[in-house]
């Protein structure tokens, strides 16, 4: 097994260059997919027999909800790699994820509330999924709070990595306990819409949007990753070369 690709992946200058070249390859497809999904979702897809055009919020709510969990998992995996193999690039990736994840968790909460209002008459509904998203937002804020609280970057990387790993273990447990809590109190549920039962012309735009947002996330991640790599890089010679390129 030839591990050189793995070690090359570890070298910051190499990753800095690759991230630069890859960004447009993620950004443009993401843009196209999102525009196509917007058109499909807002124009082509028929209104829902129950929720009418209100259901179209799913085309922004589902992707943001998906991103919030996917980004946290990505952050935890990057953190674990950083801790186990002592790879600064992995810590840089984890640091880049947090901000994006928090933004989209907030977005998914807001879109969830805006969806809940017409359906249940109140903005905040203790729906299990929304509640779990709210707790996930606190996990992000805790992660960012810990990072901000420690000056030394190397130490902040390692401490927040431990927190991210502990957090990702707890995400399913929190989700289970909130669902359990919901089942014993029969709280109203906004998100009755389970995907399989959606007809194709409703479902396709949703899948396009999910893929579009995922690619978009990686495009933004790569840009922030380059910034975090620069902040952690110490060898002057490499910096001069990277900045001149």
């Amino acid at each position: 097994m030839d591990w050189t690709w793995f070690h090359r992946l570890a070298s910051p200058p190499h990753v800095y260059r690759i991230a630069g070249t890859l960004t447009p390859w993620f950004a443009w497809p993401a843009g196209l997919l999102i525009v196509a999904a917007l058109y499909g979702g807002l124009v082509l897809a028929p209104p829902d027999y129950q929720q009418g055009d209100g259901f179209r919020i799913i085309y922004v709510h589902a992707p943001t909800a998906w991103l919030s969990v996917m980004i946290y998992t990505t952050m935890a995996v990057a953190a674990a790699i950083g801790l186990i193999w002592r790879m600064k690039v992995a810590h840089a990736a984890a640091a880049s994820c947090a901000g994006i994840g928090a933004w989209f968790t907030a977005a998914s909460l807001v879109t969830g509330m805006l969806w809940g209002k017409p359906m249940w008459g109140t903005y905040w509904v203790w729906d299990p999924r929304l509640t779990a998203q709210l707790i996930l937002l606190f996990l992000y804020l805790g992660y960012m709070g810990l990072r901000a609280g420690i000056e030394d970057t190397a130490r902040a990387d390692r401490a927040s990595a431990v927190l991210a790993i502990v957090g990702v273990v707890n995400v399913p447990i929190i989700r289970f306990s909130v669902d359990w809590w919901n089942s014993i109190h029969q709280a109203p549920s906004v998100m009755k819409m389970d995907r399989p039962s959606m007809p194709a012309d409703m479902l396709v735009p949703l899948l396009l949007m999910l893929l579009g947002f995922t690619l978009y996330f990686f495009a933004v991640l790569l840009v922030r990753l380059r910034a975090e790599i620069l902040r952690r890089e110490r060898s002057a010679s490499w910096l001069r070369e990277a900045l001149s390129a």
């Binding site: 000056e151 030394d152 970057t153 190397a154 390692r158 110490r234």
Partner: protein
């Protein structure tokens, strides 16, 4: 016995230790000198794994070991600027709990250690009521008792009167005679009369 190669340590953005290497044989004392902030304390903490190093290999007994390997830790003792003692416990209790983690102790052994450093008189009072010099003696009693092969001492003579400094010199000589190693970050001389010595100067703090 203890070899360090190409050690690089950063504190925040400061490149504190640059490509530091040395070899220390059994029975030898390494005196580490340098201006304040040069990185003497950082070196000691890096040697015992309390501080992460960017790069660098450590060989203990000729074998490359991780700086935080339990086996290696069991053979070393680190004494920092201030004596690591609980203020609400007495000197005896502090020793019993600290060294008890490493060695099976009985009351007799602890008394011997206190006797060795001349701390028997104030051993039963809570450490809170002791002077800095007295606390240092209690810390040295624990150090002497745990019988570590490698001593990492950060300015061992702080807060000690001349009599205390003679005690420290005696303890270090005893450790060297027994084939142990000592790495001491020092400002003034250690007044050692016996045992081989080596010097390491860390370039000035930037």
């Amino acid at each position: 016995m203890l070899a360090v190669e190409n050690l690089h340590v950063f504190r925040g953005d400061r490149h504190v230790l640059r490509a530091l290497s040395f070899e220390l044989a059994a029975g030898c004392c390494l005196r580490v000198t340098g201006v304040n902030g040069a990185g003497k304390t950082t070196l000691l903490r890096a040697l015992c794994g309390l501080v992460e190093a960017e790069e660098g290999v450590l060989r203990w007994r000729g074998v490359e070991t991780s700086r935080s390997a339990p086996g290696y830790h069991a053979e070393l003792a680190y004494l920092g600027h201030d004596a690591p003692l609980k203020a609400d416990l007495s000197g005896r209790e502090n020793i019993r709990y600290a060294v008890g983690l490493r060695r099976v102790l009985d009351r007799e052994a602890v008394s011997r250690a206190l006797e060795r450093v001349g701390a028997t008189a104030f051993a039963e009072r809570p450490v809170r009521s002791l002077s800095a010099g007295q606390r240092r003696r209690i810390a040295f009693a624990a150090l002497w008792l745990c019988g570590a092969t490698l001593w990492l001492l950060d300015e061992p003579n702080t807060n000690l009167d001349t009599q205390g400094q003679e005690l420290v010199a005696g303890l270090i000589e005893e450790q060297l005679r027994a084939g142990g190693l000592v790495v001491a970050a020092v400002h003034q001389d250690l007044h050692l009369t016996a045992g081989r010595r080596m010097d390491l100067v860390i370039p000035g703090g930037r």
